[in-house]
Amino acid sequence: MGTLRRRIPFKVREIGRRKWKHPFYHTLRHDGDNWLFQIRPGFVNASPVEASTQGKYLSPEAILRNNVQNLEDPVQAPLTDRPEIVVEDWRAIGAGADAQNASINADGSISESFEDVPEFFKQMGVSAVNRNISSSFTSGISVTESERPEDARLLRAFDTYIEMPRLETIVDWEFGTVLEATLATFTISYKEPTDSTPKLYQAAEFTPTTLPSEIDLLAGIFSDENKDQLKLATVYFVSQPGADPGDELDEKWQPYVEHETFFNLSHKLKTIPAPESNDPITLETGLAGGVADPIIGSLLATNNDLLNNARQIYNARSTGGTFWTI
């Protein structure tokens, strides 16, 4: 036994320079009360991304630099100040997860779909949800969940993403008549964001805002977005074997980060509007009457020259932005 003891490694020490870590690299620690994450400084264009945290999670130098009066107060600090941020919310994946979708089948059973457990975590012993739901008029809804292995692990996750404010494209319609034909005039204008700083956010699950279709935006049915978003990473937490879905996310969970953004970013608008692009554009519709919605509807519902003209003009003047790594 003495030989065995002498030959088994009992301590591993790391020395020397640490590996290069990319911008937006996430690290996590538990401070006894909360899980905190910190992100290596990352930039959009020339500006450091900013994050919201409490003064107590900043270094003394950063507290001075950000003019923090009360350590409990929220403060917006650039990532260059290395703020730590409390993990506020998470989602369960696998056992304990909420269904993403549910549908009722012809036989009365209910089919649910869940976020897949990544293979890496399956190998670690995280099990997928295995649940059957059936419903009938006589017995009501019954849920049967197959038993998890006693030593199964649980998986939780949250996402981080950034938002870059940008010009919002606004479409206004006006109507008038010349003889019998209705003149439809639309004006494309722009609304500047109040703050142009790129900001970091966290969410239990990042759901990107979907931009309405060009036609809906052109018709003024939906508004354009005034920001662009980009996901940075998913942070997973794996429990010890045998954890219960009701367990707290405490220091016994092990964090893993799946990064999606590895370099600093550029963000540009599709177009920079010229001053004269605010000039109204008039379309002679050939339609009678002066009620706005039906005219816009019939104008944009059919694939005609007017529609194509209007779309081209809108497309040339709308300002949707794009990210890329640099």
Binding site: R6, R7, P9, V12, I15
Partner: protein, 202 residues
């Protein structure tokens, strides 16, 4: 490798053969040090020391800033960037070579930092600038791509690093690298004003 099943004995069987196998395996088993790993054998066991010393990533446009800025060679559209060298007073290529490809003995160009040139938060930027005419970059111009110190964020050129000055604005606290790659540039004509410069990695 030890087959653990061979160590199992049934009640009444002699344990000595299995015990001998175990002892033999222990004598044979040994931690072997790979590259960068040093082993210390102690009474308590083996201490493995892992040396993580690695070659730092010497990427294009890597910036180091003190009283002067030194920038590792980087290109835009294949053109080597240049900057004003405080030592010689000339605009010199970052790769220390002249137009004929001859290496200079003056070392890398050193851009003198102007400590009065910063924004109200004590920050300044190093930018790569591209000279263009009629919407095109003249790749024959040795000064078509230059690195300069800028007081604030700009909408043209490409920031390569952001630098924080100290409270008294006479020294550097921190340098943050922004660009890690050689670049290409798209010059996009606008309805008004100068063409828009869109930089992307090569």
């Amino acid at each position: 490798m030890l087959n653990v099943n061979e160590l199992e004995v049934k009640p009444g069987d002699p344990v000595l053969p299995a015990w001998k196998k175990l002892v033999s395996w222990i004598r044979r088993s040994k931690v072997i040090a790979g590259p960068g790993i040093r082993l210390s054998f102690t009474k308590k066991g083996v201490i493995a020391t892992v040396n993580r010393e690695e070659t730092p990533w010497r990427h294009p446009f890597k910036v180091s800033v003190g009283t002067h800025a030194i920038v590792r060679p980087g290109t835009v559209e294949g053109v080597m960037a240049a900057m004003k060298d405080d030592l010689t007073g000339k605009v010199r290529r970052l790769d220390e070579r002249d137009a004929d490809g001859k290496r200079s003995s003056d070392g890398p160009p050193k851009l003198k930092i102007d400590f009065n040139k910063h924004d109200d938060q004590g920050r300044f930027w190093l930018y790569v600038n591209v000279k263009s005419e009629d919407g095109e970059m003249n790749t024959d111009d040795p000064e078509a791509v230059t690195v300069t110190q800028e007081r604030r964020e700009r909408t043209f050129g490409q920031p390569i690093a952001m630098v924080y000055l100290n409270e008294s604005r006479d020294g550097i606290i921190n340098t943050f690298q922004i660009t890690h790659h050689n670049l290409k540039v798209l010059l996009q004509e606008q309805e008004v004003g100068l063409p828009r410069q869109i930089f992307y990695p090569e």
